[in-house]
């Protein structure tokens, strides 16, 4: 299918399926992600959301169908895309300081392709963006969970990605930290003109953050529906979450996601 350059989707998933031996995790998925959008993949635990994200990232290969990024097929992690893991403790390098971890991102092959400045000042600036410049000399394991995830985000951002793939990045954090990181993420998304694909099982989080929510069924997964979230930006933790639109979305998504679970 020919795409007009202006409206060509950033990421296109066509007929993607994933089978692990006899187990079909993902039946068949097709969707596109336009540039600059914040998309959530929402679904119950175990529905393969992480698997899909890994295939988008080039970390895993689909057994059927194909993923393409900017028109080119994704066979291995492409430059311009960074994956942020749920288990931040296991993702940050424990032998490097916070600054060292961010410098790793800045000097990585993908960052080099993006042609950004990779000096210490650039790294410190990114740490400032996530509010951690005071902890540059600490080791990641000396910091709290929320701070560690912020380091991971800083490390990802310093590589100047166009797309951020986030696998339930805040689910291991307490509610207050989660909310402050949600707002941080939205601010960064706005300032840096990123495309974000965000995996979550938290309905409220998906509505709060996204432009669009792709709702997945449990395994073998397929897309149940795509919901466009028309709530205006900037969004605010209290006001937005109390608005009629928000509540309406919550109600319908809850019935869709949880209702199906109870029926299954």
């Amino acid at each position: 299918m020919k795409w007009d350059v202006d409206v060509r989707p950033e990421i296109a998933v066509e007929g993607v399926g994933k089978v692990f031996g006899a187990f079909t995790a993902i039946e068949e998925l097709s969707f596109e992600v336009p540039k600059g959008r914040f998309i959530s993949l929402l679904g119950p635990s175990g529905c393969g959301k992480s698997t899909i994200l890994r295939m988008l990232a080039g970390l895993a290969a689909p057994t059927r169908g194909a993923v393409s990024f900017k028109g080119a097929p994704v066979l291995e992690p492409p430059p311009g895309m960074v994956y942020v893991f749920q288990q931040y403790t296991k993702s940050l390098f424990p032998w490097l300081t916070v600054l060292g971890n961010v410098e790793f991102g800045a000097r990585s092959p993908h960052a080099a392709r993006a042609g950004g400045r990779t000096g210490r000042e650039e790294c410190m600036e990114t740490l400032r963006l996530v509010g951690l410049e005071a902890h540059a000399a600490s080791y990641p394991w000396q910091l709290s969970g929320g701070m560690q995830q912020r380091v991971a985000i800083a490390r990802a951002l310093v590589a100047r990605p166009e797309v951020l793939l986030m696998d339930e990045p805040f689910s291991a954090l307490d509610a207050l930290t989660r909310e402050s990181l949600q707002d941080l993420l939205l601010r960064l998304w706005g300032e840096l003109a990123l495309t974000v694909i965000f995996v979550t099982h938290d309905i409220a989080e998906a509505i709060y953050l996204s432009d669009e929510i792709v709702v997945l069924s449990s395994a073998p997964s397929r897309i149940l529906t795509r919901v466009s979230v028309e709530i205006g930006r900037p969004r605010e933790q209290l006001a937005t979450r109390e608005s009629a639109q928000f509540l309406a979305h919550r109600r319908s998504l809850y019935q869709l996601v949880v209702g199906r679970e109870q029926a299954a």
């Binding site: 080039g58 960074v82 893991f85 390098f93 092959p109 394991w141």
Partner: protein
């Protein structure tokens, strides 16, 4: 001070031994003796470390390498080093070359096995993190797997250090003309009994110092390891 319970030349008074030890320290005997032993030990040990880490990483990363080497390793590893000493002498003579080979061969296996374990225990999330930033296989091995496996590797190296010293001494005793092993055996043969005991004390102190030195090095290289372990358990 003598209680005179035992009166035989094979049990000199402790004071005699200590005096002999002190004299040998002061007149530079031990310096010369340890010098040659440590040289052999160091060369053999470093060769073993380099080979074991290289092969261990290969075996840990690539399944085919593991399947290739594992039978050979399991065959050779359990052989006690004195058993292939005669073979080594036959092929390599009685010079330093033979001794270095013996030390290297015996030190090789603990480091190898620990390296394989270490590489295998590297968290896949760490590796995937490297991949998502565009690192290639070899870069991931060098910049992520090696530091992550360092704890295991150092453990293997610490075990091998003790073995290396033992094998050095044995090789020097069996076919040597210098070094601490030869010194002790020669003292025994020449009935220089206090010198023999003094030599053993010196050897014990050397082993102790080597181990302490290694532990200090390990702590310096792996400062992050303790903190990380404490934080992630």
């Amino acid at each position: 001070m003598r209680l005179e319970w035992v009166l035989t030349p094979t049990w000199p008074a402790v004071s005699t031994v200590l005096l002999t030890f002190w004299h040998a320290c002061v007149d530079g005997t031990y310096l010369e003796v340890f010098g040659s032993s440590l040289r052999r030990l160091a060369i053999g040990y470093l060769i073993a470390t380099a080979c074991a880490v290289a092969i261990g990483v290969a075996m840990g990363v690539w399944r085919r390498m593991f399947l290739l080497f594992e039978p050979l390793v399991e065959l050779l590893r359990p052989i006690p080093s004195p058993a292939y000493l005669p073979m080594a002498i036959l092929f390599l003579g009685i010079d330093d070359g033979m001794k270095v080979f013996m030390v290297a061969f015996a030190s090789f296996f603990p480091i190898l096995l620990n390296t394989v374990s270490g590489v295998r225990s590297v968290d896949p999330v760490l590796v995937d993190t490297g991949r998502t930033f565009g690192l290639r296989r070899l870069q991931i091995i060098r910049r992520i797997m090696l530091p992550a496996a360092a704890g295991y590797v150092f453990t293997g190296m610490r075990i091998s250090l003790a073995i290396a010293l033992i094998v050095t001494v044995i090789a020097e005793m069996v076919a040597g003309n210098s070094g601490i092993g030869f010194y002790i055996l020669n003292a025994q043969r020449s009935f220089l009994v206090p010198e023999m005991y003094a030599g053993v004390i010196a050897l014990a102190l050397l082993g102790f110092a080597l181990n302490k030195g290694f532990v200090a090095l390990e702590r310096y290289a792996l400062t992050w390891h303790e903190g990380w372990n404490a934080a992630t358990t």
